[in-house]
C-alpha cells in the first residue's frame, strides 16, 4: 500500500508571506496532481506533473516535482486571503489509474 504524506497539516500565515508545502511518498509516482478543495465541493485541479525535476508555475504558485518522482512541493509567493483552502496532492503509481490522495494541507492566510 502506497502512503502519501503531506506536510505541514495546517499552516496559518499573514498576507504577503511566502510559504512552501510538501508531498512525499516512499514509492515513485507515474504522475502527481495538486488539487484545491473548498468545503463541500469537489477537488479542483491546479496542476499535473509527470517528469522528474519538472517545475510548473500558475500565477503565484510554483509546483516542483522531485528528480526521483517521489516528492513534490508547492510554493506560494506573497500569499493572499484568497489562497485560503485545502490543498491536496494525489498520485498515480505504476500502471494503475487510481489516484491516491494525501490528507491535505489546510492553509489560512490572514489579512
Amino acid at each position: 500500500t502506497q502512503l502519501l504524506e503531506q506536510s505541514p497539516q495546517f499552516l496559518s500565515i499573514q498576507e504577503g508571506e511566502n510559504l512552501t508545502v510538501y508531498c512525499n511518498s516512499s514509492s515513485v509516482f507515474s504522475s502527481l496532481q495538486w488539487y484545491r478543495q473548498e468545503p463541500g465541493e469537489g477537488p479542483v485541479l491546479l496542476v499535473t506533473v509527470v517528469t522528474g525535476g519538472e517545475v510548473k508555475k500558475l500565477k503565484r504558485l510554483t509546483f516542483q516535482f522531485g528528480d526521483a518522482r517521489k516528492d513534490s512541493s508547492l510554493h506560494i509567493t506573497a500569499a493572499q486571503p484568497g489562497d485560503t483552502g485545502l490543498y491536496l496532492c494525489a498520485g498515480v503509481y505504476g500502471a494503475n489509474s487510481k489516484l491516491t490522495f494525501g490528507k491535505g494541507i489546510t492553509l489560512s492566510v490572514r489579512p
Binding site: S30, S31, Q33, Y35, G40, E41, G42, P43, V44, L45, T48, L88, A90, V92, A95, N96, S97, K98, L99, T100, F101, G102, K103, G104
Partner: protein, 113 residues
C-alpha cells in the same frame, strides 16, 4: 470549459434503502471513476471504469456497490442497501486516458439515517 456534473447534490436516505448517484463525465473522456470522502478524512478511490467494465476497484467497493454507464453520457454508482457508514461525499471523475489528469465533479453528499 467542459466539466463533470453530478446529481443530486445532496441525498438523504434511510438505512437499507437503495441509492443511485449520477454523473455526467466530460464528453470526450473514456475513463470514469468514483471516489468518496468521509467527513474529515481523505479522498478514497472506489472504482475505475473503462470500455463498459470495471478496470479496478478498492476493498470498499463490495457487493453492495455497482456502477453502470446506461447510455452515452451518464455514469452511475448504485448502493443497494445503504449503511450508516456509507454517509460521505461521493465524487465522480473522468479522464481522457488511464494515465491522464482526472477531473472531478462537485460531489454528492449522501447522508444515511
Amino acid at each position: 470549459e467542459p466539466e463533470v456534473t453530478q446529481t443530486p447534490s445532496h441525498q438523504v436516505t434511510q438505512m437499507g434503502q437503495e441509492v443511485i448517484l449520477r454523473c455526467v463525465p466530460i464528453s470526450n473522456h473514456l475513463y470514469f471513476y468514483w471516489y468518496r470522502q468521509i467527513l474529515g478524512q481523505k479522498v478514497e478511490f472506489l472504482v475505475s471504469f473503462y470500455n463498459n467494465e470495471i478496470s479496478e476497484k478498492s476493498e470498499i467497493f463490495d457487493d453492495q456497490f455497482s456502477v453502470e454507464r446506461p447510455d452515452g453520457s451518464n455514469f452511475t454508482l448504485k448502493i443497494r442497501s445503504t449503511k450508516l457508514e456509507d454517509s460521505a461525499m461521493y465524487f465522480c471523475a473522468s479522464s481522457s486516458d488511464s494515465q491522464e489528469t482526472q477531473y472531478f465533479g462537485p460531489g454528492t453528499r449522501l447522508l444515511v439515517l
